[in-house]
Amino acid sequence: MTLLLLVYRSLRQHALSTLVTAGSIALATGLLLAVWTAKEQSQAAFAATSTSFDAVLGARGSKLQLVLNAVFHLEASPGNIAWADYENIRKHPAVKLALPIAMGDNLRGYRLVGTLASEYQKVEYAPGSTYQIAPGGRVFNEGEHEAVVGSFVARKLNLKVGDTFHPFHGLTFNEHDEHAETYTVVGILEPTNTPADRVIWIPLEGVQTMAGHDPRAATEISAVLIQLRASTAGFLLDQAINRQGNKLTFAYPVGTIVAELFQKISWFDRVLGLVAYLVALVAAASVLASIYNSMSARRRDLAILRALGARQTTIFGAVVAEAAAIGVVGVIAGLVVYGVLISIVATIIRAQTGVVIETWAWHPVFVVVPLALVALCALGGIVPALKAYRTPVADTLTPTS
């Protein structure tokens, strides 16, 4: 109780420096947790999204670009492939499902993706989960100018069943590139927390025959999303298409290719991680500095406590406990900082990729990081605690007579 009283009163007496120091701890906690969560959870979320399809068939080029374009609806398409290529892969005995997609238009920056309704409804974007249309809607009919809108797009553009729109040419929005065709929204996709939420799905031939498109596009598609019957087939197709052919790219396995993306940007993670660790170190140093600097002002109090019978170890413990208490206040505030940071990061990731990351999923890091920071603060308290330990009682309570 006495130790708690000493710590509490000291924190109160030095409230401003306590708050500033705890603020730096909070920043360090928030940054460390946010960097870790953003990295781990986005990797996990991207990997989970990648499991919808085993492979992507597209034009010759970068596998990563192909996967990003076809699965995540990011980046530009590496080119088109012929309808016949789709037919060939669809009929391959190892292929369980082949979903052709065609892209080339947008609505205010959100991509229009043409596909076949019949195949689209078979896709399991997660084990046991197929795309569902919200009540009051239906899937588009082939040959009609109808659209099913992803939940995120519907919310952002305030689209509902019965609304109409004109697509815009290209993957980036330019108000002068409006197509003449009028599409009617016939369904809103139930949220899937996948990139499907941030695109508008229309019949394949809608993209192929959109006025102003290259006539060759009428017989071409952008890519084919593939689910295989067995994983071994993927290696055979990889061998056949990538090694022996020179026209197409078979991006397989999708999960590994996505992992390559994270490997490519791992330097960024490391920089962010380094910054977070540095902030943590600076925070611990600031605990040390703030308590150490206050030691001169506290000499008299410490000497009085010693004169009252407080042992040197008690004084030492009180200063270390004070440093740890600043750490505890800091990490608690740090969880709030984390909440704010990760919400911003999650919103950006969702808006840019459609992938939803779990921001409060339990992981030991939520205990390890706060505990490590409190320990670091306590460690920072050792130097001033030693100074307090050595406070000379008699010199401080100078005899006057």
């Binding site: 008299r300 004169a307 009252l308 019978g309 008699a394 309570l397 006057t400 007579s401």
Partner: protein, 219 residues
């Protein structure tokens, strides 16, 4: 209660020379005794009390408090001795400014064996500060601060109370009140009291008065 033999203490002066300020061949205090020491400022009275309390260590000599030889103890053991057996009333009160009156008094017994939370409250009520328990020292008058210091010194139920010019900062009326309080509470607790002062009005209240210059036999 207190037995001192052949005590000597010197300090190194700013010019580097060692100056002896105390040489006390013998001094003693019986349990429950109340003794006043008269001495001029700068005569070494506070140093004497610091030595008894184990805040300072002597160059030579022996100090025994309630059967414990202070001069043979390590620093941590002297800390424990102060917490267990000695109450110290400082001339300048030495209250902790960041702590309330009640907390200051509680700290008086917090490091000893008699950690009784209600005792601190009772003591403050006893010295007339029952309504100021949660006041900080800056919110109290000088006389009230002195009473908190008295209560704190007695909080651990010490066997020996050392009072260093305890009325030095008080006007006459408050000084007499504080003195009466210290003496009566010490008597109630059967604590020995050693008070040093140069104030005649304080000293004349004690039956047992001694001249510090007669005790301190510097050559």
């Amino acid at each position: 209660m207190l037995a001192i033999t052949d005590l000597a203490k010197s300090f190194v002066a700013p010019d580097g020379r060692r100056t002896e300020i105390l040489r006390i061949p013998q001094f003693g205090l019986a349990a429950g005794a109340q003794v006043a020491l008269r001495g001029a400022s700068g005569s070494g009275k506070t140093t004497f009390l610091h030595l008894i309390a184990g805040i300072l260590t002597p160059d030579t000599g022996r100090i025994v408090v309630d059967g414990v030889e202070v001069t043979a103890l390590r620093e941590s053991q002297r800390d424990r001795l102060r917490a267990d057996k000695i109450g110290y009333i400082f001339q300048t009160f030495n209250l902790l400014q960041g702590f309330t009156a009640l907390e200051n008094v509680r700290l008086g017994h917090a490091f000893g064996p008699h950690a009784d939370r209600d005792h601190a409250r009772h003591l403050l009520e006893r010295v007339g500060l029952g309504s100021k328990l949660h006041h900080f020292p800056r919110q109290l008058s000088t006389g009230q601060q002195q009473r908190v210091a008295v209560a704190r010194a007695l909080a651990s139920r010490p066997k020996l109370v050392l009072a260093d010019e305890p009325t030095g900062n008080l006007d006459r009326q408050h000084a007499m009140e504080a003195l009466t309080l210290i003496r009566s509470v010490c008597a109630e607790n059967k604590a020995a009291l050693l008070l040093v002062s140069h104030d005649e009005s304080v000293l004349e209240r004690f039956e047992d008065r001694r001249e510090f210059s007669e005790i301190n036999r510097l050559p």
